[in-house]
């Protein structure tokens, strides 16, 4: 059976159970499903966060994620991949992002999910602005996210 790839950028929340079912229903060739969900936290270090607002580059975001799901599909024996990234205003406790990888074997599913998350953090055209009691500010990129993304680059 062919691999399923789903990419969605949306304001609405997602349901992880439904997304797993969509990838696995009726199939008996899948042995492992890994999901990563990223959730908005209520603080960063000592600072409270009231909400995040996520901006993206429409068109490029979808194209870039698609390119990276293709890389993942070629690198690991996957039966399916789902990437859902929310945009707009998101409050603490709410979901931000979902990556779901399905495979016959667990290592492929874990590695593909980690690869896609590292990529999304460092290279996907999304930007977070934080609302804090003392005002709003754009989140700074972290060099450790660049390092995490770089470990997947073949030398």
């Amino acid at each position: 059976m062919a691999a399923n790839v789903t990419i969605r950028i949306q304001q609405a929340d997602f349901d992880i159970g439904c997304e797993i079912a969509a990838l696995t229903e009726g199939r008996i060739d899948i042995g492992a499903v890994v999901t990563f969900s990223g959730i908005c936290r209520g603080s960063e270090g000592d600072e409270a966060i009231t909400a995040l607002t996520l901006e993206h580059y429409p068109g490029m975001a979808e194209a870039e994620i698609a390119r990276h799901t293709e890389t993942a599909m070629s690198r690991w024996p996957l039966t399916g991949l789902t990437v859902i990234h929310r945009v707009g205003r998101i409050e603490p406790g709410e979901n931000i992002v979902l990556v779901l990888a399905a495979s016959a074997h667990r290592q492929a599913a874990f590695q593909a999910a980690e690869f896609l998350m590292d990529y999304l953090k460092a290279n996907a055209p999304f930007w977070k602005r934080e609302e804090k009691p003392e005002g709003n500010s754009w989140v700074d990129a972290h060099s450790h996210d660049d390092d995490a993304a770089a470990r997947w680059t073949k030398s």
């Binding site: 993206h56 953090k121 290279n123 055209p125 977070k128 990129a141």
Partner: protein
């Protein structure tokens, strides 16, 4: 060509996209940043630290020395913070 701005680059310039016609001497992404930075105070502020600015041509990340000839859409933005 169409130029797009995102996140604080967009906020500093005060617009999300515009059409620009730089002179023929503007050949690379770096050249375009330098030229845009000269278009007024808001642009100077947005591009005051060129090394932190990321660029994409036609929806693909590019390095700052990439030629812009043939580009339909060039975007400028800060380092990405998705995920």
């Amino acid at each position: 060509m169409k130029v797009k701005y995102f996140a604080w680059v967009r906020e500093r310039i005060g617009k999300s996209e515009e059409t620009v016609e730089p002179p023929a001497s503007v050949r690379t992404v770096d050249d375009l940043i330098a030229w845009l930075a000269g278009q007024g105070e808001t642009y100077a502020h947005a591009f005051e630290t060129p090394r932190v600015i990321r660029a994409a041509i036609d929806h693909a990340h590019v390095k700052s020395d990439t030629a812009i000839a043939g580009a339909r859409e060039i975007a400028f933005f800060p380092p990405m913070t998705g995920g």
